[in-house]
């Protein structure tokens, strides 16, 4: 129920739909709830709808935080 998956937009389709790809699996989702989505964007998909677009820079920052912590940890 609470799946919300980042998926790559590979094709914009008619009727405000898009084809997205997740790990090699493709699916058609509705873009009715988001604006200005482009091919190459990652969108958060939930019950067949894109709810929002992923900001790659923010994602990179979050991952950088994780890495810092890992490096901060003394090697075992």
């Amino acid at each position: 129920m609470c799946l919300a998956l980042p998926s790559l937009v590979t094709e914009l389709l008619a009727d405000d739909n898009a084809k997205v790809n997740l790990g090699g699996v493709t699916k058609t989702v509705s873009l009715a709830l988001v604006s200005d989505v482009k091919v190459g964007d990652y969108v958060i998909v939930h019950v067949g709808y894109a709810l929002s677009v992923i900001d790659p820079e923010e994602a990179a920052q979050t991952l950088a935080l994780f890495r810092e912590m890992e490096q901060a940890e003394p090697a075992q």
Partner: protein, 390 residues
Amino acid sequence: MKYIDEFRDGQVAQSMAKAIAAEADPAGSYHIMEFCGGHTHAISRYGLEDLLPANVRMIHGPGCPVCVLPIGRIDAAIWLARQDGVTLCTYGDMLRVPGSKRLSLLKAKAEGCDIRMVYSTLDALKLAQSMPERQVVFFAIGFETTTPPTAVAIKQAQALGLKNFSVFCNHVLTPSAITQILDSPEVRELGTVKLDAFIGPAHVSTIIGSRPYEYFAEEYQRPVVIAGFEPLDVLQAVRMLIRQINQGRFEVENEFSRAVTRDGNEKAKSLVAEMFELRRVFEWRGLGLVPYSALRLKEAYAAWDAERRWDVPQDSPPDNKACECGAILRGVKRPMDCKLFGTICTPENPMGSCMVSAEGACAAHWTYGRFRDAEPGMPQGPEPEEEETE
């Protein structure tokens, strides 16, 4: 899978676990509620409890839309499915949930009702278009994330002039439920229960943003972190909350900044605002009556409202008296404190809210974590052992 695999890195998880252990004050304790069943599921499925220090305790909140729906609403859905010419459709998770007399939508289907599982509101709409001679009712459930998709479907039905589509609306609101928990006597007045901090669900905030949490972080003086559903997201959120608690802060922080903003999705919000209005009160399974915690269609959309089209029964049969869900959802008790847990209440025969879906506190503990309270010589596996309890 980009933006997934990076957030499931076991190596990083181990580092985080160490960081959390280092930051947590061994003298204190941390009671953190993950509101959402998605988080509960991630914690259980990945065994994250094993990565947290003993004094960091996760409390599984009521945030599973399947679990919170009261028996009466399931009965009502079955009642609708039994009406002449009605095809009822809903998300797969609802099908197995028993209503009164253990009758579920799946069993009603076996008895001959036309009940379909859909993956999207648009599937329901297509169904209505493909069978004009039948009345297609979409049994709509869920929090702020599933409400906009319901709204889109109604908009499209309106545009298509579809007269055989309607919605049995059961959409509920996250902040109201959290408020209700914080307002409960155990938490607010008696102080018998510690509830130090909250993890907010990322997908809800993709729609509503992080701003709605600001009021009660301030009002109830509890820190909140909006977090994604991947295991590293959850661990990171725990770490951020421990830090806030240690520092005496109670802010709303956003771990999921990659897709959540302060204001959320304006397009979705305005669609919902146009179409839905607050119910004065709505019953939550496990929480009881919660004021202003659910939505219904506005008068202008009455034509698509199954509750207006049919005289849907409004009974509210109670849960088993022995069920401890209310206390579990507030962190007052744990699943194994319920004497029905694992004896007569199991995922196959759920007796209360927390056992209803894999995302409920009791079901998650039973399905993924029950080995933790198993005593040697006390079989809980699938062998018949003693005579029946009930």
